[in-house]
Subunit: 380 residues, 2 copies
């Protein structure tokens, strides 16, 4: 090794830079490979003085563990797979994106990585599961937009592969099955808060525009509105039916539905909507027939809601992400915790959304400023 002297004496600015390995660190620190490894992975079993020397050597060489080598040996990838939905369905698509962002940040805190993939249909997604699992590319999946009797969770349960869903299971899946961890945001509470707020704004007949389908989401949001309306305003089933409509999600649909409701003899004096798209349509409908001050509340707190000053129910996506990781990896750490049927703690989290109040529900109280929707004229 006498040529090491030569090597250092000659400056070689950008030759093929070979990355340092544990071996190199060990040599510099005067310890063995394994001790270096221990400093990194089990610091508690290494003597303080030794640790210090190793840490110094690591810093000196700028050493970083080779991710693939580590993965090969430990048989874990420290990577989570997330499918990027094929159809970013309009305005609400950004919900997934914001969630993805929160997830990436939370994951980084635990030294976990997020790997994306796309697939066509559930079948394609399951193929992707299989590919990524077999290639040891990911340790777990995070599923979004789950459906009734979701075939994906069935497959994952069947193949005993770790996952967590954003959205509670429905169908044959048991809500309390410890093998099916899930995180969800309480739509009942969200719709209830929205309704409550509408009432606080002075509304006595709160209308509701919801989704056409029979998803859990659709049902519980409507139930939240119905429950609050019943409790506070004393409405019964028939009256509630008259005050609500179920349509396909979208701005034009929201517009049309709002017009229908607002032209009723007993028109609602506020509108709670199951999405910001619907609410945006509703706002425009209200404006178009001169009912500018009508309180309208949306759902999901998308960027559009912020942009147009629409009050909206906000889902705590960072908490969702945090909880998802907690269910997969425990309080901290990056090792999948294996589940058993006998697990005691509930393997799910139901989070509570918050209402973000904006101009769309404040105009009723202030003077009409002439520029209803996104007006920036402050009256002083």
């Amino acid at each position: 090794m006498q040529d090491s002297a030569v090597q250092t004496s000659t400056l070689q600015p950008s030759t093929v830079r070979t990355l340092p390995t544990v071996e190199d660190v060990a040599r510099v620190a005067g310890v063995s490979r394994q001790t270096v490894s221990n400093v990194l992975n089990s610091p508690e079993i290494v003597k303080q003085t030794t640790t210090a020397r190793v840490v110094a050597a690591i810093a000196q060489l700028g050493y970083r563990p080779h991710a693939s080598a580590r993965r090969l040996r430990t048989r874990k990838s420290s990577t989570i797979g997330v499918r990027l939905d094929p159809m970013t369905n309009g305005i609400s698509g950004s919900l997934l994106d914001r969630f993805l962002h929160a997830l990436t940040e939370q994951a980084a805190d635990r030294d976990l990585r997020i790997m994306l993939f796309t697939a066509r249909g559930f079948g394609g997604e399951i193929d992707a599961f299989s590919r990524l699992r077999d290639g040891a590319d990911v340790d777990a999946f995070v599923l979004t937009s789950t459906v009734h009797n979701d075939p994906r969770t069935a497959w994952l349960l069947d193949h005993d592969f770790p996952f967590v869903t954003f959205g509670r299971p429905s169908g044959v899946d048991d809500l309390n099955d410890p093998l099916h961890p899930w995180v969800d945001v309480d739509g009942f509470s969200g719709a209830r808060q929205a309704t409550q707020h509408a009432i606080a704004c002075g509304a006595r007949r709160v209308g509701y525009i919801g989704f056409d389908d029979e998803s859990t989401t659709a049902l519980e949001r409507r139930a939240g509105w119905a429950s609050e309306s019943a409790d506070q305003l004393g409405f019964g089933g028939t009256e509630l039916d008259a005050l609500s409509l179920a349509v396909v999600d979208g701005v034009p649909q929201g517009n049309a539905a709002a017009l229908r409701l607002l032209r009723l003899p007993d028109a609602p004096d506020a509108l709670v909507c199951a999405s910001d798209s619907l609410a945006l349509g509703a706002m425009m409908a209200a404006a178009s027939i001169g009912r500018t001050g009508l309180p309208v509340i949306g759902y999901d707190n998308t960027p559009v809601a912020d942009a147009v000053g629409l009050s909206s129910v906000d889902q705590p996506l960072d908490l969702v992400a945090e909880s998802a990781l907690e269910l997969l990896f425990g309080e901290s750490g990056s090792t999948i915790i294996s589940r058993t049927h006998s697990a005691t703690d509930p393997m799910h989290r139901l989070l509570t959304p918050t209402l973000v109040v904006r101009q769309s529900t404040q105009l009723a109280r202030v003077e009409d400023s002439g520029s209803p929707v996104a007006g920036n004229h402050k009256e002083s």
Copy 2:
């Protein structure tokens, strides 16, 4: 139910399933490790009959190469790193998301993966570069929202690490530097098309609401509008200045700017905007002062534009993604092509956007149908 007792003794649905390796495939096919490897990586050097046997064995065992082992040996990760921007800036944030989606899909076609990361500031991002590079986690980076004299590209060039930017370089970087590959969408053309369309709708004084900053994007979009206005309508610099405003991106800003322009003595009879946010604000402003039919054109074709029926300039994000990969990996394949200063072909692509025409520029021509999107105050 009845076999629950038996289940444990006989059936073992989920014993520890060991994944098959090349060795297993080789044994079944009656060949050696390396031959299996060759079938996968260099099919042309293996005899047809042997290939057939190996392929059969692979299918039979459901073999898939272990990604990490392969990466360790080949010293490449087949993974591209993308930073998820910390601030999903409102409506336009979805542009990045749509790009991300396109990129993920294109990458999948080449057996490449997308890995996400977040970082705070450019410094943080460069740290992340360093980490991901040293850990051999990624083979290249795709950068978005580049800025003038971007420190990130400087670092990457300095450390000789492959990357491509979505957005042409500006500053000390050379547009034609073969070491700095980039893809961009021609904003000049986009704004020009928008203006052209406005004129085709009958406008004779097309106004422009653009960005306040001095980014390439801001400059070229305005230039596109100015150029077309000069050519077709014969406006000079002073007149153009009077017809345009530069503001911060956002719906309220668009609203305010539009009001200012529309209240001028020589008010514009159409508005071209540098973003959908601005355009949305402009639409609302127009509606609020009774100029419902005013043609308004946005930029980026975000979901909101679709939702509210706003004509908008669409960036071909799938092409951008495809081009980005092409610059990194060549026509096909998943191996980084190394660049030299002497490269002949230009290491960049300038793509042309297309205008998507919607109701916001059609109302002028059709009869008021009673329920247009953003209000239906009749003017006559």
